[in-house]
Amino acid sequence: MHELAICQSIVAQTMEIATSHRARGVSRITLRIGPLAGVEPALLRAAFPLAAAGTCCASAELVILIPTVRVKCIFCGAASTVAPNRLLCGVCGTWRVTLLEGDEMRIESMDLLEKDVAHV
């Protein structure tokens, strides 16, 4: 259950950004978690309220974007969508592929509740 530790890290980063923008609070946190990140979205959701309790993130909605796992063949160049435990080229079948997406573990964005925000 490392998801709690990850939630604590997300909350710490969110608080830092919210503070630096003098936000009143955070309404939404958007994450991108690939199937090869080793993080279980359902467990992350369950752990989040524990890490967020009493912070500016306590009422934030957690949005989790889950990309597919995609690889590119180093021989034939084909891109394929694959299962997380079968990273093989969909065309020629080789395991000599590079990962295009699927291992992301990233905070994409956050929506802040703000009183006075300058126009860009």
Partner: protein, 253 residues
């Protein structure tokens, strides 16, 4: 539609990292930061320490009981007089493994994590300052026995070694792809038990491993009867030399 650029994503869409857009409800901030940003930052700091001191650092991971400590004991004995090895031991409780490592003749620091399922870079940082790094050639970080959580936490190591014992079954790489994809070397351990286990096929383990698109070498090892230990030591010495070359380059720059 976004009022600023006209794209389809609507209000609050941001085009520059860290920029703020005014919306009816507040502001959307583009972050694009690793979820474990602080751990990654500390890990980079640890790695800089290790590299500056000329120490090759290996994060040793496996399920509990795959033979991490036994392999380390055999490695320390095999390299006695050639390389100085130290070990950071991670376990939920007890000093047992650190005692075994000291018994084999190497320096050991035990980290007890309580209920935490993995080591993180802060724990390793605290441990590394208790070691005389400049006197060490290779530092092993024996992670908490677990095929899931340790894979997500960078500790500042140079290489990941993942062990799979023949008693666990040859389909482990297929079941735990994140861990095995991270391996720079896969060690199949306890090969002295292969016959007793009966249904472990090394080639099948290798096939599952390659299906993760991982080109890393796989070695069959027995810390008990010494099989494969020469190849393992050869790999360690080669990695240690590569690490040294990197340091020499840094010194020239």
């Amino acid at each position: 539609m976004c009022k600023i650029c006209g794209c389809a994503q609507g209000a609050g869409h941001v085009h520059v990292a860290g920029a703020i857009l005014h919306t009816e409800f507040g502001a959307k901030i583009e972050v694009l930061q690793a979820m474990l940003h602080e751990n990654d930052r500390q890990a980079a700091h640890n790695r800089a320490h290790f590299t500056a001191a000329g120490v090759l650092v290996i994060n040793l991971m496996s399920s509990p009981g795959a033979g991490k400590t036994s392999l380390l004991e055999a490695t320390i004995r095999a390299l006695r007089g050639r390389l100085t090895i130290a070990v950071i031991e991670g376990d939920l409780e007890t000093e047992n493994d650190a005692r075994r490592i000291r018994g084999a003749g190497a320096q050991a620091v035990q980290i007890t994590t309580g209920s935490a399922c993995h080591l993180d870079s802060t724990m390793v940082h605290a441990a590394l300052h208790t070691l005389a790094l400049r006197e060490i050639d290779v530092l092993f970080i024996e992670n908490v026995g677990n095929l899931v959580c340790p894979a997500s936490f960078d500790l500042g190591q140079h290489r990941n070694v993942v062990l799979l014992s023949v008693t666990e079954g040859d389909d482990k790489p297929e079941k735990y792809p994140v861990m095995f994809r991270a391996a720079d070397l896969l060690g199949v351990t306890k090969t002295d038990l292969t016959e007793a286990v009966g249904d472990f096929q090394t080639l099948r383990a290798l096939r599952h491993f390659r299906q993760l698109a991982n080109p890393a070498p796989m070695l069959e090892l027995s810390a008990r009867n010494g099989d494969g230990m020469a190849a393992w030591i050869f790999w360690l010495l080669a990695e240690r030399d590569k690490c040294r070359v990197t340091i020499a380059k840094h010194a020239h720059d």
